[in-house]
Assembly symmetry: C2
Amino acid sequence: MHEDGVEQRWSIGEVSRRTGITVRTLYHYDEIGLVRPQERTASGHRRYTASDVRRLYRVRALRRFGLSLEEIAAALVRSPDDLAPLRDLFTAQLAEFEVYAARAARLSEQLRGLIRQLDAAVMPDPDQFLQTLEMMSVYENYFSEEQRELLARRQAEVGEEAVTATKTEWLELVRAFKQHVEDGTPVDDPQVRELAARWQALTVPYAIDPRTDERISAATAALWRDHQDEISTRVSSQVAWLAPGDLPKIMEYVERARQAG
Amino acid sequence: MHEDGVEQRWSIGEVSRRTGITVRTLYHYDEIGLVRPQERTASGHRRYTASDVRRLYRVRALRRFGLSLEEIAAALVRSPDDLAPLRDLFTAQLAEFEVYAARAARLSEQLRGLIRQLDAAVMPDPDQFLQTLEMMSVYENYFSEEQRELLARRQAEVGEEAVTATKTEWLELVRAFKQHVEDGTPVDDPQVRELAARWQALTVPYAIDPRTDERISAATAALWRDHQDEISTRVSSQVAWLAPGDLPKIMEYVERARQAG
DNA sequence: GTACGGCCTCCCGCCACGGGAGGTGCAAGC
DNA sequence: GCTTGCACCTCCCGTGGCGGGAGGCCGTAC
């Protein structure tokens, strides 16, 4: 490439300036054997050749796409003959980006929701907001990411209004059940049976497929089993007519009513 | 919350099962003081209280949004009274997600382009593809991220066809200049002047604003100055009528022609 | 008495470097 | 020949958020 035919060598500082890679990083690449200058001076100074520098550019380009140094090393070993491994790496990385993007989009959506809540200033108690956070975390403990996504999609499909309507009807049912609990109505009473049927029907719009529904139902039961105290506290703090200890009793009654039906 | 009024305590294993946080992580949170169980047994076993567990749920929820443990610690110290810092954290995180998503989208687009190139199978030489990678890296060294994005947007605006047309005309101009270089035409020849004018006009569709254009032009000159060998090799490998050593001479001639004009 | 599981602390490892300490190499200026 | 100053060298600690293992203690069930 140069007229005199003498292969040029560069010191580590010159290479750093040419490639925009820090000297420290060049040391690191040398150390792990990723890009090793072909020569050293008698005193041990590194001398990079043109091909070393080209390799550095390749590494830098691949790094930008988020590939690990290990992946890059493996790709650069084999790729002179065969670009297939590189292609595989690219497609894998592309898939990863898409997964990340999807996750980031979901989290962003949730964050926007939380910020809206904070800005609404209807928050009576900071503690209540933190409880919301806690329950989000609990929720995620019982449902897999896939299940959560399915449910979220389902909720988006049925629409916000329908979801609110479901919540409202659920509260009505709770109130009605509460009355029956207090009155000591037997669980096989026709009225109670009808309430239980309506209770069951609440989940219908959110059904996905039998297998999934079964699992979600089991997860929900487990969540309730392990966290009825927190849930009861939260719900009763939002409706005046419900005491913290009421909900477990009501739920137990509902369960018996369903078994009877 | 519990009828007997006795505050419940949990061992680290029970807490791990309840919260889905690994025991190792619980140790870690204790170590850095993020969540520290309020009690220890005589033998040193950790006893978590209900409030410790609630704090863990909060931490877990905030972690999901990508907040660092340090940020979470800071937020949880102040938030019982004031949710403003938490709101700030959320908006900051949201902004970060957006930046990240934008970057991921750009990289994905580039990856798709590279994969298309690989699949096109017009690739005569694997080395040529790796050279493309090298030049991408070089390119990024001279143009800031902002400049690259502006240019990319501009290119998208003028359309792929127009970009191809520009490349074609550029090659034609190079070929014409090559002839003049070989003929020894003086740089103030009217024909050469016209070619120089057309050369100048090539960049017009991609202009952004005078300041930016000035900087991009300077960066381009620096890129050419530092990497004319590589660029010449690449270009001459793609057109039959150009030898590797031609382009620098031609560019020098063009430069003199522009100065003369 | 012993087997087992849960818990403890201490410590090394990851990944891709950043940064500092403390020493050497080399060329220029006096 | 001596100093100045810069580039370069190696060695080593630190980052974040844990994972995982070693080696030992505790308590209970058989």
